[in-house]
Symmetry: C2
Subunit: 390 residues, 2 copies
Amino acid sequence: MIQVEQALSIIAENSTTMPVQKISVQKALGYILAETIYSPINMPPFRQSAMDGYAFIHSEKHQYDVIGISQAGDHTDIKLKENEAVRIFTGAFVPKDADTVVMQEHVMANENSILITKMPKQFTNVRAKGEQIVKEDVVFEANTLITPAAIGFLACLGITEVEVYKKPKVAILVTGNELVKAGKELPKGKIYESNSVMLQAALQTIGIKKVKSFKVKDNLKATKKALKNILPKFDIVLISGGISVGDYDFVKEALLENGVQELFYKINQKPGKPMFFGSKNETLVFALPGNPASSLTNFYIYVYPAIKNRMGFSDIHLPKLVRKLNTGFINTTGKTLFLKALYDETNVTILEGQSSAMLNTFAIANSLLIVPHDKESLKKDEQVTLLPIN
Amino acid sequence: MIQVEQALSIIAENSTTMPVQKISVQKALGYILAETIYSPINMPPFRQSAMDGYAFIHSEKHQYDVIGISQAGDHTDIKLKENEAVRIFTGAFVPKDADTVVMQEHVMANENSILITKMPKQFTNVRAKGEQIVKEDVVFEANTLITPAAIGFLACLGITEVEVYKKPKVAILVTGNELVKAGKELPKGKIYESNSVMLQAALQTIGIKKVKSFKVKDNLKATKKALKNILPKFDIVLISGGISVGDYDFVKEALLENGVQELFYKINQKPGKPMFFGSKNETLVFALPGNPASSLTNFYIYVYPAIKNRMGFSDIHLPKLVRKLNTGFINTTGKTLFLKALYDETNVTILEGQSSAMLNTFAIANSLLIVPHDKESLKKDEQVTLLPIN
């Protein structure tokens, strides 16, 4: 049995970065760049007006003849003289000789001429070519997260594809003869299977949509065969159930006989103690507890960082928050506790109903409060650490 | 021109909740329940063992004959006598007469009998029928957010469908003759169109995947026709560009002639001042500024809460955080500012490059720092409010 921190280190060490792939910028949200991107163009690609107004050659004069128009999208070869101006709009090409744009609010105009009522400084309202980025300059370094703004910036530079780290393909293998699919009549002694849809939803919250669920009978032969089929095809395998003392052995045996290396088994925590972590080649195997709340807790604490690490993230864990505890709490277990809790802007409340079999508390919680194994009591008003979820 | 707070109120008042729909529990992540859910079964549906061990009738005796086995998924009619026990596993049916389960670690066993070395209290390790929830009791109240844990809980009760508020269908209408699709050669005077893919990505971050993009030429007739087609088919219409003074009028005219009611135009803020908000029937129209950083800012500040409101959320805005400012800041504009910023656990730094045309700062920011319009300066180390993004 190991401590939570050791388990986290072992997972971080063993979860290698995924291979890279080219992907369309439109589909790249939430991926990590695997290459440094250089700009193929100057942005803006030409001198642009920052205002609706009039472009002119800056001078002492206040009166100008309007000899043309430059709308957004136009390219004009108009040549300006010193007493001439061009009607211009935001984003439009600034004619070659002009160096300044006066905004239309600072002008009196008739059909053919303007009088500038408030003279701007030279170069005002003209965005220089390459002001945002110069051709060949770095757009984003490798290992940058692709956000909506990053997608916008890449698109405005005309970039259509980028190289990113792939998302892992995840399999969920459900064991348990007692499990019946929802929608069917429930025979005596059976319960509805819920962990696979719950884990699929949890995976979806971090952008993993390619998930395949498998179900296997509680026996060695079937489990061995299922794993033999699954292991080479997936990057992460989550096994639900079959990991507490009574029936663990044959899941372990099935894993070992399939060449999975055990990296740890059992963590000094509650809920979620009976968990197995191993690997084969680059594939990671998490055998999660069958109890739903334990399973989901260990998803957030262990599977989440493993997936983030494989995707190339540098911050792989759930972000931590610190809040003031509303009531005291005693921890006599000697284990690290992950308690379902509700936090607001300043405080946090530990919820009733922390049983590992019960999901209803988890469903209304917005965080997991961490009580370290060597911390015997938390006092009211003490600052505590929590992990926001949902 | 109105203040930010007024704009937010008008949007909240005018964004009605979407109609409801039945949806499979598996696909319900991130939706808000439109009905109160009652449990169709007791959970657990029978008395369940919480441990691997032996079920027996609690007494003073320490020695018991093992007369049978109850595995998870079994239903046994075994009748126990006072000196008899049944081998049992976690989650398995506890035989009718038994009232207690002793964990296997507290037993010495041979093939046919056990000696209890540490006697548990009566009723230990037996989960009562309906302990988690009793048949007909409330599972979730209406207006609950469906989280991974909620999906797990619904599934374990055998519930396969729930009634939720629909997600809005969103259209993006891009205006601007200067815009060229990425991947093509860039003619003189033109720039690449980026707002539609950026807004699509931003919509994706809040679970809106059904988005359709349209492009229209900068003229009244085309815009009117496009809007006539789009307005009845979508719940939210985002128009990109055509909203600054120079070319606003014909977008406005096209909207008004299509029966869209103007609810406000222009907000006292920077970036993002030139924005139009209106509605027709239940459809909301946001004409966002064409400048990319303004467009994305207004997405987070205004479109985001409108969508959350339509989906039935009670907390509709981005959550607010408070952090200590790393450097002072002067606001001479009299406007509310939304500044791209980077925060960590304690502090926040305002980034360089706040221009409304530039997305590169936005791409590396993790928050928008709010400077209220009537706040002329922020001091170093002052506590400031920010909205986390990405």
